[in-house]
């Protein structure tokens, strides 16, 4: 399947909404917690069991992004978005069948396995295309799409809760909710499939198309060569450390703010803690578009210096003074979460700077394995240490002191890894003839 080449005078401003239609849909994954209580009561599941579909979906996200990246580059964004649409929507339909027939394994298979493939392919599907359309502002372009992944849960969470309220929280109500979600997301993502186009290469570009993107220029490295470079692994460490530090707060945000101010004159109520979590989601989303766009102005290496360096200072401030000032605690947590989102959104542009646009989507997919590890590492550190501190008789803010020191250490490791990033050695660059032949082959058929 050849990628859909933009006709003359196609506007590049049609590509971000195409990307958003996919990312806003697959971002639903972070709203899975809405289904946990009704699933547990209607199918008689434990908390661990009800988390299984989500956990498998995230594992499949990492695996399909890592192993499907080359296919996405070869077949183009329309193919990738179609695969994402089919997998993500049919995952919900299979889950609806599972809920209706009370077969939990079908929900795990549908949402976790099939839907998870849709998550991974959908996540990387627009990245390479956006960077090619916006060579002048790659950070902003990928920031818009990846902000959508953060925004997906904001839509899905209240919407799903409302549907469960209307249809009922029993297995039939859950099945109906899954069915509506599956069908709605299929329609919503269709916009992306229909709108997405790859830019015409220079030479075949119509002069009227002033918003067109230029052909590939500068350093170009294939995905297979990229993973053999120290730059790739330095960035892998940078992303892993930055995400681990963010998840460290995100995972336990509600109990953390409650514990921090439990012994003060202004304790935090359950509803206020929920408000804090919502505010963190907003910071996460704003960071994706805000910091990523800023990286176009100050450079990718500098913005990661901010994420990792200032992030470490924020953690230190929370550890030292957090329990004495609620505004300071909230401000520092918001900044850390904005850096967490910014780290995700800026990394495709960083990869483009280092490896070019040739197979940047595939390289991005492989880098996302750092997310999989961080997703385990962050919660593990904070939860394990907090539990042990509690067993040791500690309470309040002191439950988290050790975790914060570890997070500072991880951010320093990430900072050093970022400092070690240098331009890629010329022996990894692909020959210009091969690059030109590949682009020619990809654009040999009309859209």
């Amino acid at each position: 399947m050849s990628p859909p080449v933009a006709p003359p005078a196609w506007s590049r401003w049609l590509v971000p909404p195409a990307a958003l239609s996919v990312h806003l849909s697959i971002g639903q994954a972070y709203a899975w917690s809405v289904f946990k209580p009704p699933l547990e009561s209607s199918l008689n599941l434990s908390g661990t069991q009800s988390a299984l579909p989500f956990q498998l979906a995230i594992v499949m996200l990492g695996l399909s992004a890592a192993f499907g990246g080359t296919l996405v580059e070869r077949n183009g964004p329309r193919w990738a978005m179609t695969v994402a649409l089919i997998c993500f929507s049919s995952g919900f339909l299979i889950s609806a069948l599972g809920a209706e027939t009370k077969q939990f394994w079908l929900i795990v298979l549908g949402y976790g396995f099939v839907g998870g493939i849709g998550l991974g392919i959908g996540y990387i599907s627009p990245v390479s295309t956006l960077i090619k359309w916006f060579p002048d502002r790659p950070g902003m372009a990928t920031g818009i799409a990846i902000m959508g992944f953060g925004g997906g849960a904001l839509i899905a969470s209240p919407w799903s809760a409302q549907m469960l309220k209307s249809f009922g929280s029993d297995n039939t109500g859950i099945a109906q909710t899954f069915l509506v979600l599956g069908l709605s997301y299929a329609v919503f993502m269709t916009l992306g499939v229909l709108l997405v186009r790859v830019p015409r290469v220079e030479g075949s570009q119509d002069p009227a198309n002033t918003a067109g993107a230029p052909a590939l220029t500068g350093v170009q490295v294939s995905a297979n060569s990229a993973v053999r470079t120290p730059q790739f692994w330095c960035l892998w460490v940078v992303l892993c450390m930055n995400v681990t530090a963010g998840i460290g707060i995100l995972e336990k945000a509600a109990p953390m703010i409650t514990d921090f101010f439990a012994d003060t004159s202004t304790p935090v109520s359950v509803s206020a803690a929920a408000g804090f979590v919502a505010l963190l989601s907003a910071a996460n989303m704003a960071g994706r578009i805000g910091w990523s766009s800023t990286s176009d102005l100050i450079g990718r290496k500098n913005i990661y210096r901010v994420y990792l360096g200032v992030g470490a200072v924020m953690y230190a401030l929370i550890a030292l003074f957090g329990d004495s000032s609620k505004p300071l605690f909230i401000l520092c947590a918001l900044v850390i979460l904005s850096f967490y989102g910014g780290g995700f959104a800026t990394v495709p542009a960083y990869l483009k700077d280092l490896f070019g646009t040739y197979q940047v989507g595939a390289i991005h997919g492989r880098l996302l394995t750092a997310w999989s590890l961080a997703g385990v590492l962050g919660p593990l550190i904070v939860n394990w240490i907090a539990d042990h501190q509690k067993d040791a008789g500690k309470h309040g803010a002191s439950l988290y002191d050790t975790s914060f020191i570890i997070m500072i250490g991880l951010l320093v490791i990430g900072f050093v890894a970022n400092e070690l990033v240098r331009p890629v050695d010329a022996r990894h660059h692909i020959p210009a003839q091969r690059e030109a032949a590949d682009v020619e082959r990809q654009q040999s058929e009309p859209a």
């Binding site: 005078a9 909404p17 919502a278 505010l279």
Partner: protein
């Protein structure tokens, strides 16, 4: 009779507006719900 090169390119602005509205409307709904929840931090 005019050839292809003399034709003006199609106006994409309505399509751009529709596409951004398509993704913007649900996002605004999500942000509205988020603000309602976040307010609880200061009122709850």
């Amino acid at each position: 009779m005019s050839n292809d090169s003399s034709q003006s390119p199609p106006d994409r602005r309505p399509l751009i507006a529709f596409a951004w509205l398509w993704v913007g409307a649900p996002l605004v709904y999500g942000l509205y719900e988020l603000i309602l929840k976040a307010k609880q931090l200061f009122t709850g």
